[in-house]
Point group: C2
């Protein structure tokens, strides 16, 4: 087994080096980027579409969609008028820095202020893979259950902000928000969290404020 | 890169060999086993608890719980009176045959008819990993959205039965069941599917009938 360890380290290092290059590319163009992660169906694409709707008069935004297969999410973004690139991982359970690097030439980076990258739907694999964005954001959702921070600690530990989606379903689901947030606090003390509903628009002001603050502080 | 390919093949072969040994062990004890997979929070544990409640007078059932961390699910099974073993993968995104093999000595296999293995919550990684059960079952859920078969084809292609959980939330969610089932049919023609609600118990008769048929045909 010892012969394999250096190979793995080398691969990780190569990924991290390219992630650093991606940040240099983004900074050179004045683009702020976030990496959105979540379980399948938590509402990554809906969050992106709603964010675009609320930001489009203030910020020029592009999207990179990561999926195992299909261009369903990219088609939705394209229909909304967002510059978008689809990455199909062909079965791979997370994006990596090389994939994001490959998407850059297909985006009008010089014209953009913000790029949102939608990672593959997965609470495990993308958790500790740097792709070269400024921040990592997790979208949780009420129907997933209030025990998810406890069960997927690596993901909750590694993010810079937390969107809690599908708040409109709260009356129909047994979800203890205090228990959920207690788990989050243990793993990631002080993590900023934004309870929202992509369906009703509830709670989006605070998320948009946070995001605008990030984009502006990056500009300045 | 060429030097790494044989290593990967060797690992896969070793896993599959142990998976075959697991089946031999189970068959020797007259135990039928299923591997339940799903996104995080789709309702694997709830499905197992409801199945136990409905089967406990007919079939002796045990459970193996796979999680990254914690024994939350195993504690629930234990509280319900089900013989249970917890496997923590320590970050690994799926169970493998060695992990299942390691769980066997901790279960009273000679006294059991059925073992349900709950895999790690993930629609990508567990899809093509044999662990040594007789059938693979996927739990989908309405809040995940109707596009999941199209976006996670490897998982939908590789299973022997499909439970569609949280049907009670249908009135509150935009979910096109025809579109969902069309995607399932393309990937896995003729797949038996069971719309249920773990909350209300709706639809469980058909699932229990299917499962009882599997267990009995295995006995005979």
């Amino acid at each position: 087994m010892t012969t394999k360890i250096p190979v793995v380290q080398q691969i990780l290092t190569a990924n991290d080096q390219i992630a650093d290059q991606n940040l240099i590319t983004l900074n050179g163009k004045g683009v702020y980027a976030i990496n959105i992660m979540a379980s399948p169906g938590a509402g990554k694409t809906s969050t992106i579409l709603k964010t675009f709707e609320l930001l489009k008069n203030k910020v020029k935004m592009g999207v990179v969609e990561g999926d195992l297969a299909t261009s369903i999410d990219a088609d939705k973004a394209d229909a909304a008028g967002i510059p978008v690139v689809q990455i199909n991982t062909g079965g791979g359970c997370h994006l990596d820095a090389v994939m994001l690097q490959g998407a850059f030439p297909q985006l009008p980076l010089s014209d953009l202020d913000l790029v949102i990258v939608e990672n593959v739907g997965n609470l495990v694999c993308p958790a500790n893979i740097k792709i070269g964005t400024h921040k990592n954001v997790l979208v949780a959702s009420i129907p997933e259950g209030d025990d998810k921070p406890y069960k997927y600690p690596g993901m909750y530990r590694g993010v810079d902000a937390l969107i809690i989606n599908k708040m409109d379903l709260m009356p129909y689901i047994d979800f203890d928000l205090d228990y959920f947030l207690k788990g989050v606090e243990i793993l990631n003390p002080g993590l900023e969290s934004f309870p929202v509903s992509c369906k009703t628009g509830e709670g989006f002001e605070a998320w948009i404020d946070w995001l605008m603050k990030q984009v502006k502080s990056h500009d300045g």
